[in-house]
Structures are given as C-alpha cells and as structure tokens.
C-alpha cells in the first residue's frame, strides 16, 4: 500500500512537476507568440501578393497584351494582303482599322481598334472613341477629330512615352491604302479626366478655331496612376497613297 502510494505520488509529482508548469507557460506565451507569428505571416503574405500585383500590372499584362496585339495586327495585315486583289472591301472595324506610328514614342506600330473600353484597350491596342464623342475616322475624308486612347502602363503600355512627344513631331496613321501624316501642334500635359472637350471636333483648348482634320491622343498621367489625362493634338499634314511595297512616308524612315 505504501509502495503503491509512493509510486502514485511520484508519478503525480512527475506529471505536475515536470510537465504541467512549462506546459502551462508554453500555452500562455505560446498563444500570443502564435497569434503574433500568424499575424506576421499574414502581413508577409499580403506584401507578397501586393508585390505580385505590381509584377502582374507592369509586366504580365504587357506580355499578354503584346501577344494579343501582335496576333490581331497580323490578322489585319493578312486581311489587307488578301483584299489586295479584290480591291477595297468593306471596312472591318472589329479587327482593327489601321496602325498608328509615333516615332517619338518608340513603340513600333500600334493597332487601332474601335472603342475605348478596357476590354478593347487591354489587348495592347489604341482605341478610337465612340463615347462620349464619336471619333471622325480619317478615311471618311471629313473634317473632325480622330480621337484615340491607349494605356500608359501595363496592357501593352502603348502610350507610355507620350511625354516624349513634342510639337512638330509626326504621327502617322496607316490604313490599307493610305498613310495619314499628322503633325503634333499642341500638348496638354495634365487635364481633368472629365474634360471631354479635348475630344471636340474643333478642340479649342489646343488653340484651334476652325474646322480641320485633327488627331487627339489621350492617356493617363502621371505614370502608374490615373489621376489626370495627358492629351496630344495633331493636325493632318498630308495623305500619301500606299505603294505596292508599303514604303513608309519619310517621317517613319
């Protein structure tokens, strides 16, 4: 009996003496430590996700958009080549109406498609406005404003270098059978995003009072944000016929 009791006691002692107090202490501080480390891990995770979002918006969207734009651009060029024999056919606006070349932006050729919704622009193209003011297409031959928008960052970032464009720089719009050569005559480096007047057929803010054939490029500014809009205006200088080799006008040489 005695022996059994001592054994019980020692066992009991061992349990309480050796395990319980450290266990209790571990549980007490352990909970806080665990909560802190879980919170820390959450913060690290959030940081990583935000970092990934930057990678996504500044790199991945460009990869996707450039791929899409190349595909669609090739399709338009193939289409033009196929139409060569049959003469000018109906204008397919869904595929893209032509290519914009702005040598100062050093971005090669930018496919121009209809509309300025993000669905259109996210494919790495420039879109011509249908809303709030409808763009006057240069092919129509009418006076008006050929208004375009494209991304400044991500999704191809086609107008990223718009701030490099100066007065007198050429903007060339290429269609199936014409080169429309515009010359930049005014730049508005910052305006409200509600300033739809910049899209008017006679953009008065650019200093023009008379009707003419204008081109307007809009994008967001400053870079990486959309607080304001950056606007570049050009006026049609001349129209060149596309020759059989598609020799670009001297502005693109």
């Amino acid at each position: 009996m005695n022996v059994a009791a001592t054994t019980d006691d020692t066992e009991h002692d061992e349990h309480t003496g050796a395990l319980a107090p450290p266990g209790a202490r571990r549980r007490g501080t352990g909970r806080i430590a665990m909560a802190v480390s879980a919170f820390g891990e959450l913060l690290i995770t959030a940081g990583l996700v935000l970092g990934l979002f930057v990678v996504y918006s500044l790199w991945w969207t460009n990869v996707v958009a450039d791929h899409k734009a190349d595909q669609q651009g090739d399709k338009v060029r193939d289409h033009w080549a196929a139409q060569q024999d049959t003469g000018p056919g109906a204008l397919d606006t869904r595929e893209g109406i032509g290519f914009l070349h702005v040598p100062t932006m050093k971005n090669g050729e930018v496919l121009v498609e209809k509309g300025t919704s993000s669905k259109v622009l996210n494919d790495g193209v420039a879109g011509y406005y249908t809303d709030p003011a409808k763009a006057t297409l240069p092919m129509s031959g009418k006076n008006g404003n050929f208004t375009l928008a494209a991304h400044r960052d991500g999704h191809g970032a086609k107008f990223h270098n718009i701030d490099k464009v100066r007065k007198g720089d050429p903007i060339v719009f290429e269609t199936k059978d014409k080169w429309y050569v515009y010359k930049v005559y005014a730049v508005l480096p910052e305006t409200s995003k509600y300033n739809v007047k910049v899209l008017s057929s006679i953009p008065e803010e650019s200093g023009k009072k008379k009707a003419g054939k204008y081109i307007t490029l809009t994008t967001c500014t400053p870079v990486f944000t959309s607080r304001y809009r950056y606007v570049v205006w050009g006026e049609l200088e001349r129209v060149e016929q596309v020759d059989s080799e598609r020799t670009p006008p001297k502005e693109l040489g």
Partner: protein, 53 residues
C-alpha cells in the same frame, strides 16, 4: 500558418519542398488568372479615357 502547412504535408523534406513549390505556383496562377484581372478595374491605376462619369 506556413509551419502548420509544412507540418501537414506528407513525405520527407524534399517531397514537402516539391509540394510547396507546386502550391506556390498554383496560388500565383490563380492570382494572375483570376484575382488580379478582377481587382484591376476596381483600382484607379489604368483609366486612360476622358469621359463624363
């Protein structure tokens, strides 16, 4: 959180590391494919047009 996942992955350290890599890749894929494209229009970084709204 991460140590909890690590402890519950099967296999030895190499297998665990491999599964972790696959898991990370899957998470990145889901983020790039679904979460970011959804979140992007909600953030004011990429509006390039002028409009009345």
């Amino acid at each position: 959180m991460y140590s909890f996942i690590w402890r519950h992955l099967p296999g030895n350290a190499w297998v665990k590391a491999l599964i972790s890599l696959v898991l990370v890749a899957a998470v990145v894929y889901v983020l790039f494919q679904y979460v970011f494209p959804w979140a992007e229009p909600l953030l004011p970084f990429n509006d390039v047009t002028v409009d009345n709204q």
